[in-house]
């Protein structure tokens, strides 16, 4: 039977014995793809689910595609999900996830694989060479120590892939390094493509908590420290060349939905609306956080994307970097830059540095701020209580950027202490007070606050805490950015508060369908059942549609859309909603809410793994500063506008600066959340009845055997 959208096989890499094993995708079909499939594979192949450090040899790391990868589904075809136990979180490194874009997942599908399961540990560095069905383990001693860009270039050279754009047909079999004594069991194809390579740099080799996986110049999977997991397994890189294709069930339906997206939901390029309030429908726009270095740029995007949020520049730096990494150094650069051009150059070269070292720059966003304060307060520096020989007096220069990234990547200087976790380092340095004052703003699970404070942006903060990491899901926070920008410019609001919440509620099936109160961010509502429902909805939506079907977080969901006369966005729509594309590719007859239910199943599997790792509701709390201080970012941005109801039930956009969080009330909210999820409210552990209702009795059995199954009476 044809598995439309799927390649049909999953590749298991036994690193210990350097063996490649193919297994069928079909038994994992119920989990959709991406995260769902990866979690299910982790469940089956990780023999010790109590491990709490991803560098443990029992850890299993899955690199997963979705049925939509390699297709023309808008802003969904190029993402790739990575799961496994992470590194460096606090107090426990959970089973976690990360995600990157580009063309790796597409190439993996074209090579005939829906995902890769990485098990065990090699006794020396290797890189893995996948060409369609052939999988070769190569010695990587000569690659070890190289940065991520040099590694990828070296692999291309090793398999004689010509540099530049002048390319020609090559027989995969004729490329060097294929084992002559191990003939492939199938005909090899030909290609003009360059291999898609995913690799680690020095940060991963040294197994530091901020180690990322890097693909091409600027696609990174940062959160969770999965780069350290690869380093612990002595896996330097995976290179893939594929010559196959993907069978789409209903190509006409797929093209029709894609054209509807273009004609109906996306702003017209002939008369663009630069201020459109929509996610899928905005103009293609580079997400660079510094001024562009030049107008001479070409857009660069993930496979199948209709946006192209990255760029390649003729100046030769900053290529393919976008979003956070283009500004991790920004507040310091402007202390030394003499002009905007110099500011941009240092910021983008700073981005190149973290990409090459394979370092997740997200930790530096609040982390470097903390370190600077320690230096200025006389605590950190040469001969000080926290010794550091880095040139702190030159923070803001490119030289300092390279030196601190190198230290963090190679466990030298302060990098030695920070490699196993930033909160762990704070405790080691006797800086526990910084977790209480907010000097170190790592809000949950030992990871940084994102720029959307949990005391104001409830669904982000609560969702991160009930999950495993900074959620980094931008489902709703464009409300804040659009409305705040309109206020800042003194422009009329494109959509009023009441209409905004009603438009959302139309689409938030099943838990929040026609319940606009879930978007009431007011003080009076912040610990309510309604807010628990929006957190549930977002987690379940994301677990399936974003993390498993791999719709891009920055383009989906599309709740509201000012390009459409009735302002209804593409999400859940019968003409170009998420489920329409899924069904066209796979042949399923999924309703939008069926996807949410699959997401709920995946979320429950994740929670079961966390429970086996040791999670209990008593551990589920924010960093102390969240409860002890008020949200005072008013001094660094003037307003934080969210939809709120007043005492008369009328909707407004209201500034939430100055808010605090009550710990006791938040504990009550947790009880509501657990009850809605069907989990034991005393422990947060899943109940058998909940799991069996989702056909997950096998999970209940494992939890019961571990003595960690929730009580039914709770």
């Amino acid at each position: 039977m044809t598995l439309y959208g799927y390649a049909g096989k999953i590749l298991r890499l036994d690193m210990t014995h350097r063996k490649a094993i193919a297994i069928d995708t079909e038994p994992y079909r119920r989990w959709g793809g991406g995260h769902g499939m990866g979690a299910a594979l982790f469940w089956d192949y990780c023999k010790d689910k109590t491990i709490t450090d991803g560098r443990h040899p029992a850890n299993v790391c899955c690199v997963m595609t979705s049925p939509l990868c390699g297709t023309i589904v808008p802003s969904a075809g190029g993402r790739c999900e990575v799961v496994g136990v992470g590194v460096g979180q606090y107090p426990v490194s959970w089973f976690t996830r990360t995600n990157f874009g580009g063309r790796f997942s597409t190439m993996l599908k074209y090579a005939g694989w829906d995902g890769i399961v990485i098990e065990g540990r090699s006794d020396s560095p290797v890189w893995v060479d996948i060409r369609d069905g052939q999988v070769i383990f190569h010695d990587a001693q000569d690659l070890w120590g190289k940065d991520t860009w040099a590694t990828q270039l070296e692999i291309r050279d090793l398999i004689k892939i010509r540099r530049g754009t002048k390319t020609h047909w090559r027989d995969l079999q004729a490329l060097p390094l294929a084992k002559s004594d191990d003939p492939p069991g199938e005909d090899f194809g030909r290609t003009t493509q360059k291999p898609a390579i995913l690799c680690i740099g020095p940060a991963g080799e040294h197994q530091t908590c901020h180690a990322a996986l890097i693909h091409d110049a600027g696609n990174g999977a940062g959160q969770g420290g999965l780069g350290a997991v690869w380093g612990s397994k002595n896996l330097k890189a995976i290179s893939v060349l594929g010559t196959g294709g993907i069978q789409v069930h209903d190509p006409k339906a797929l093209l029709r939905a894609r054209m509807i997206t273009k004609e109906k939901y996306v702003t017209r390029w002939q008369a663009p609306d630069f201020q459109a309030w929509t996610r899928i429908g905005r103009l293609p726009n580079p997400i660079i956080q510094a001024a562009p270095p030049t107008d001479e740029r070409r857009p660069q995007s993930c496979q199948g994307c209709i946006n192209g949020c990255r760029s390649r520049y003729n100046v030769g730096y900053g290529n393919e970097s976008a979003c956070q990494e283009t500004f991790w150094y920004g507040p310091y650069v402007r202390k030394v830059a003499k002009s905007r051009a110099e500011d941009t150059e240092i910021n983008l070269k700073g981005a190149d540095i973290v990409q090459k070292y394979g370092l997740n720059s997200f930790v530096l966003q609040p982390g470097l701020h903390w370190l600077e304060h320690l230096y200025e307060d006389g605590v950190l520096g040469p001969g000080r209580p926290i010794p550091s020989d880095l040139p702190w007096e030159s923070i803001g220069t490119l030289d300092f950027a390279e030196k601190i990234v190198r230290a963090l990547s190679t466990r030298t200087d302060i990098g030695a202490d920070l490699a196993d976790g930033w909160v762990q380092a704070a405790l080691k340095w006797g800086r526990e007070e910084d977790l209480h004052t907010g000097a170190l703003q790592f809000s949950y699970w030992g990871v940084p606050e994102h720029g959307y404070d949990p005391r104001a942006e409830l669904e982000w903060g609560y969702g991160s805490l009930m999950g495993d990491r900074d959620t980094n899901t931008h489902c709703f926070n464009y409300i804040f950015t659009n409305v705040s920008a309109a206020f800042a410019f003194g422009k009329p609001l494109r959509i009023g508060a009441e209409e905004m919440v009603n438009l959302h509620a139309k689409k938030m099936s099943p838990y929040a369908k026609d319940r606009p109160e879930v978007l009431d961010y007011s003080d009076a509502n912040m610990y309510s059942e309604a807010v628990a429902q929006i957190v549930r909805w977002q987690q379940h939506y994301c677990r399936f549609y974003k993390n498993s079907a791999l719709y891009c977080d920055l383009k989906w969901p599309d709740f509201v859309n000012t390009n459409v006369p009735d302002l209804e966005g593409a999400t859940a729509s019968p003409d170009a909603g998420e489920q329409v594309f899924w069904n066209a590719v796979t042949g399923d007859t999924l309703r939008f809410e069926d996807g949410i239910e699959i997401g709920r199943r995946i979320w429950n599997l994740d929670n079961a793994i966390w429970v086996l790792q040791g999670r209990h509701r008593d551990m589920v709390h924010f960093a102390p500063y969240i409860y002890k201080t008020v949200y005072n970012k008013g001094e660094v941005f003037p307003f934080f506008m969210w939809t709120c109801r007043d005492d008369d039930g009328k909707w407004h956009y209201k500034d939430l600066m100055g808010r605090s969080m009550d710990k006791a009330k938040f504990e009550e909210w947790k009880t509501i959340f657990y009850r809605l999820e069907g989990w034991d409210t005393k422990t947060g552990w899943p109940k058998r009845s909940t799991l069996e209702q989702m056909d997950m009795g096998f999970v209940a059995d494992a939890l019961q055997a571990a003595g960690r199954l929730g009580e039914e009476a709770s």
Partner: protein, 121 residues
């Protein structure tokens, strides 16, 4: 908008062009969708000018009322502080106000650089 600021003295010009101590830094963030609000601070008027330079991808985050106080107390430039207060008092909208402060700071920096250059000759 024209800013008629009298020429600063040489000592004031030096202060205008110099960073203040860390303890006197002024908080200033940036809203950068989709990253969020990024905290930071400024320690000098040249840095403030760069910080306020218009940027299509983000918005500066700064408390303009408090800024006037900082310019007066920490930098020591009462006249520029008054110019900023005048901008705040005749507020148009936040972005426009930031632009006007950007221009005022630019004028002041040009004056200070001119004085230092003149006296160095």
């Amino acid at each position: 908008m024209n800013f008629s600021l009298s020429q600063p003295s040489e000592p004031l010009s030096r202060k205008i062009l110099s960073p203040v101590p860390f303890k006197d830094r002024f908080p200033a963030g940036r809203l950068k969708p989709p990253v969020g609000i990024l905290p930071g601070d400024v320690r000098s008027l040249p840095e403030l000018h760069l910080f306020l330079e218009p940027d299509v991808a983000s918005l500066p985050g700064i408390n303009l009322k408090a800024l006037a106080e900082w310019v007066e107390v920490s930098i020591g430039d009462k006249e520029l502080a008054e110019a900023i207060r005048a901008i705040v008092d005749t507020a148009v909208n936040y972005v426009e106000d930031c632009l006007r402060v950007y221009e005022a700071v630019g004028v002041r920096l040009d004056q200070a650089r001119g004085i230092i250059k003149e006296n160095a000759v």
